[in-house]
Symmetry: C2
Subunit: 328 residues, 2 copies
């Protein structure tokens, strides 16, 4: 049956409309307000959009997949809330983080409740699909925790390899995008094969997305980036760029890199400029862009394999391209 | 069909055997070890036992309810892990708490993963019952968070009423016991009415259990109690005893009570003795015991209404009695 595929913009509107129907105006308010606050910080709603867009490949009316799509968004926001505590982040999307605006206990408990709400939304998947959806969601949630653990462990290791890093971001970031897509496919009645292709598409898009993130922090355009450049550099965050720089640097460059990574109270701009310059000399920008392009190509290739007409997949293809070519 | 009902001891052995089959020896070990540690701290395993005992009212072989029973235990232990962070507790069951033995980030993240594992175990409920079981479990988990929120808020309020306190412990503690029982009943194919009676039995047992806890802290026998008396008194914990004491005290007793609650660095034994003495003068021990007995009687009365032969319910009745007459 032919029907027009909904664009990302239409899908986003459906997601945001649905989010506004979730009643978070409950007691005790000290528990629910931080949840509403977190959700209302906004965001592109990419993950729930992916669920609905995958579902839309197989059905015109996406209503049946809306609650599970919101579940993915609630789960994602729960991970951000707890990650911000663990990372001691003070700002998210230009606003104070929950543990700063309220306190840490609130951030822990409201986060716990957000995860439960995610499960309650996911439970509203059509009954026939519930077992499969839950199994995938649980497996994904476990992997996200494992990814976060590796991320934290890597902060204190000096010898993280690019392969380990890719695996960490696969777990921490990519599997949730993949899961969002596959849930939409499962609910949409896709074949196991098509569901798996959409999952794999999500993995590659997710990896490319994170590599783009790493690039933007150093090479983005400040006005459009929304935050100052070099935040990752300042906190010695182990991004793909830094990991490769450490791998490739030798002699003077290595000394210089180590100096800027270990100096106690550096001038921020000096550190950013110095390390960016080392990156440039080692050509790690290109290495990162090549890795990003590799995964983007893989994403497009596996999307092609999904057994629906090519024009139906254009919206997903556009989304992947926009994530690759974005400036923020 | 007649079959012998399993005693609590047999049920506990089934629970502990099943717990030992859950593979927590996974990577990253920094994430999974704290989970194994938490589970291995032990405990009476009352909640999973209640699930299996409720199921056992309707079926001889309890295998079908084992994974959901373990889910309840994992969920319970997750709440303890996060509560210990929020309460800044340094010891649990005589061992260092996870955030002390490892660190706070570990306690947050391993706790998050425990909750997910709970959901994955709960997902293994028989397919026909999954929707109902999940809906109940989610509603309960939400209430437990709400109870914890009220508990934290009440710490800084001077005017908590006994009614508010009962509602807080109902949410924080009782609903999980009730949920454990009702899940066993649902999976066991009980009528909606019997499932609800078992839930209500759990609520009253849970309330009586917490009131007993409040009593034991002040009036327990140190050797059997397993910890020193008066821990609640020392940290001004708002127990039923304290709340009633504040409600009833006037004149000199009220001055004395306020003195001991606000004095900066009291001698521990003096404070415990003084406040215990005030409790004795106000007769709050009896008020607490009466409340406990009230809920215990309600528990037995509603257990009687469950539509199975009385002798089948004896094990549950024994468990409730043991919880009331325990010394630790």
């Amino acid at each position: 049956m032919h029907y027009p595929i909904k664009s990302f913009e239409v899908i986003s509107a459906i997601v945001n409309e649905a989010l506004s129907t979730i009643d978070l105006n409950k007691q005790p308010s000290g528990l629910y307000e931080p949840i509403a606050y977190t959700i209302n910080l906004g965001g592109k709603r990419i993950r729930p959009a992916l669920t609905l867009m995958a579902f839309n490949l197989f059905h015109d009316d996406v209503s049946r997949a809306v609650m599970p799509a919101l579940a993915v968004e609630f789960f994602h926001n729960f991970t951000l809330l707890h990650d911000d505590i663990m990372d001691k982040a003070s700002v998210r999307r230009g606003q104070p983080t929950v543990h700063v605006k309220w306190d840490e206990n609130t951030a822990i408990l409201s986060g716990d409740l957000m995860q439960i709400i995610a499960y309650e939304l996911m439970r509203q998947a059509p009954e026939k699909t519930l077992q499969d959806v839950m199994q995938l969601f649980n497996a994904t949630a476990i992997q996200v925790c494992e990814g976060q653990q590796y991320d934290m462990e890597y902060e204190s290791r000096e010898d993280v390899t690019p392969e380990e890093y890719i695996e960490m971001i696969r777990l921490k970031t990519a599997v949730l995008l993949a899961c969002a897509l596959k849930i939409g496919a499962i609910i949409g009645g896709a074949s196991k094969q098509d569901a798996q292709y959409l999952y794999d598409f999500g993995i590659h898009v997710g990896l490319a997305f994170q590599l783009k993130d790493d690039l933007l922090d150093v090479y983005g355009t400040p006005e459009t980036f929304g935050k100052e450049l070099g935040g990752d550099i300042l906190c010695n965050k182990k991004t793909y760029l830094l990991i490769y720089a450490k791998k490739l640097a030798s002699g003077e460059l290595q000394k210089s890199l180590n100096y800027w990574l270990t100096i106690e109270k550096p001038n921020s701009n000096e550190k950013i400029n110095a390390i960016t310059d080392i990156y440039n000399q080692l050509n790690v920008k290109k290495i990162c862009e090549d890795a990003m392009d590799f995964h983007f190509s893989k994403a497009i290739a596996v999307l092609d394999k999904v057994g629906v007409k090519k024009d139906k997949k254009q919206a997903l293809r556009n989304l992947a391209e926009n994530l690759m070519h974005r400036n923020d």
